[in-house]
Symmetry: C4
Subunit: 238 residues, 4 copies
């Protein structure tokens, strides 16, 4: 029994040297597994490279499965571990592999995407997120309001430009939905240049919308700044 | 009489369960009506789809008209309801439909735009806007000043680039008004890429204007941040 | 003598009703003169339109000259008025016209640009600028430092991209000076799309530079925000 | 000995008039040397211009070498000077030249890049950096966290767009690595316009990612703003 307790300490805490090594090895493997996932998407990969990536994938899945089983074994409340955030993320990281064995190749391609949930495993290790968490909770209501206002402005901008540009550019601004793409790319100041107004009315409208949009885009910075300042104050007072 | 009072409570407040259901149904219908409006702009819609959208539009108008009449009926001061912000918005949402019945089809197209005023009806339901409202009142004077300075910088930028680029690109920078379009798209950092300087002088000028412009664009964020911080402080002290 | 004093009050202050009317008329004429200047740059203007703009220009110059002479006449210290900021701006607004009479037409075109100094006359009338002025003085040192750091980053970015892209794109990235254009347009997030890296090395370099650049671009917003907050505090305490 | 002490005062401090002149001359030469480096990259330079630039380069190296030797001579702890930040930067500025004498011309081209380390010598002279330094130390942890979150979002965005756009645009979105370029250019709102989504799914995904990305991009502004405000407070209290 004390043997199980020692493993529990290694797996669940970072108190011992072995616990730190275990933690860092798992993190390293997650990063390596994510890189391997990216490499698989490269076109014209040689069969040899594909084989190595496949073997590495199987090794990763094996290690993550063993890790999951150990965590399950050492946990005191089995069910609450399985249903916890960490437990679900760990399961999501290995499940798609086993599900894809029995299926044909096409659907596997989409299931592979689920493997990326592994990246969420890294989030568990970061304790410094707490201040952001406090700031987020403080600013939650304002951020929801900001997103609603942004959505309304984006929508009204796309309706406006549709009426100005639809006649001059019937393909680029074919409907309000096509105009929505323009509104998103313009109000976020990305400006790819694939669609832009060419009529005088559309350009004046763009100018007015951008003046308002600039003010709106600057709001989350203000919200986050004041929330972070307050979160720091709360933490300092504790 | 107590029957009228009960309806009044349902329509005007969210105290009872029926009041909440009434409120949410109206909100849902507004969103559905806005989506239906967007769908109508899609090109190559089948006659069948057009018919369904038209029927849905008539249903919406009918419900909004009934809602308006009920609100009018239960209000104690009839005239002040009609002239209130909510009353006017409600009227604007249905009036264009009735006006367009007697008119020919061309002008209806423009009147349909007025139907979008319905989206403003959603604003009535949000009570969380108050902090933004306080912040806006605090920062009003500075925001007006900021917009004046921005307008002056945009104008001077367009005059400057006109003198640098007019000879090299006589079409893109044909006049100060054409240059204004460049100035707006550049200073807001949208940068579509449809017009940009190609002369050495114009590029150096763009660099200087952008350095100043970046400073100016960052001002509203600062204004909003300090105004929101103060608005939060005022609300906390109350 | 009391006649001169009354004119002095009208011209120099806004205490009387006539003083307010005089002030607003001059402001209106400045705006009209700036719009007229913009209209003159339109290509393919009819001879008639050109004539009307020319007449309006002469009227403006006449009024501004009379205004300048009256201000000179009522001022107690003639020399200090001529050398003051307002006096110099007023002179700059009319001088180019008189200088261009004796000269040939080509050089007049450049002198016309000086007429835009009139827009600075509007700045005189805004008293609300004081808080921005206080904030600017507080943040001056930091803004100078920020601009130095930005210049250094822009320069190093352009040297870096030159070494990555010069071989692949010998025209777009012909020298460090051509790369500077890319660096300015990228780090300010304008991104016209006329020049962009195509090599793998250049893209990774762009990614790193943008990560650093985003942090730097956010600095002035922070400086301005904290300076404005302090300026407001100083004004509240007075 | 007092002769050596006087030189030490000139070279190491700005107390005497000669010390200030020495300092400013060295700074001027660094800037001139950086400009000369940029001029060398210009294509189609005449042989004469190349010769003049080469001579100026040798003069710079000579002065910087003499400066380094004097600083070495007057320093009390020779070894700690050589290993100090200033000592290493000074050495890096001259070493590449001497190393390149014995080597063939190709490798010199890369070594010339190292000469740019001279620009770091300018950083020594700025004492106003201290507040930024304090602010950076305060915000270090949060900035590291921000960069991690940004990297994760950029990566997940590139995986997402790969699955949406890969079939429609097999060249532009060939692999996750190609999609990474799109993700960086879009989330930083640069938006060159060389790659952009064309499918409906990809555009909706871009919209969602940009909404999240805008919030993330605004975080460093908030971090820097609150850190600078605190750094100013710390300095005021001292």
């Amino acid at each position: 029994m004390s043997y199980k307790l020692r493993i529990k300490e290694i797996v669940e805490t970072r108190n011992s040297r072995l616990g730190v090594i275990f933690d860092q090895s798992i993190q390293l493997l997650i990063v390596a597994s994510v890189i391997s996932f990216s490499l698989e998407t490269l076109p014209y990969l040689s069969d040899e490279a594909n084989l190595y990536l496949r073997i590495f994938e199987i090794v990763c899945i094996f290690v993550f499965t063993v890790e999951y089983l150990i965590r399950f074994w050492v946990s005191e409340r089995k069910l609450s571990f399985v249903l916890s955030f960490n437990g679900l993320v760990d399961l999501m990281a290995i499940l798609p592999f086993y599900l894809s064995i029995g299926l044909d190749l096409r659907s596997v391609r989409i299931l592979r995407l689920l493997r990326l949930f592994r990246i969420l495993k890294l989030a568990k290790y970061s304790s410094a997120l707490s201040r952001f968490h406090v700031a987020f909770k403080l600013a939650k209501e304002e951020l929801v309001l900001f997103f609603s206002v942004t959505l309304a402005v984006v929508y009204l901008a796309s309706v406006g430009i549709y009426y100005f540009e639809n006649t001059a550019q019937p393909v680029a601004f074919a409907s309000v939905f096509d105009s929505l793409w323009w509104a998103v790319i313009t109000l976020t100041t990305v400006g790819y240049g694939d669609v832009y107004p060419i009529t005088v009315g559309g350009r004046i409208f763009t100018f007015i919308i951008l003046m308002i949009g600039l003010g709106i885009v600057s709001i989350p910075a203000g919200i986050v700044a004041s929330a972070l300042a307050k979160a720091r104050k709360i933490q300092d007072e504790e």
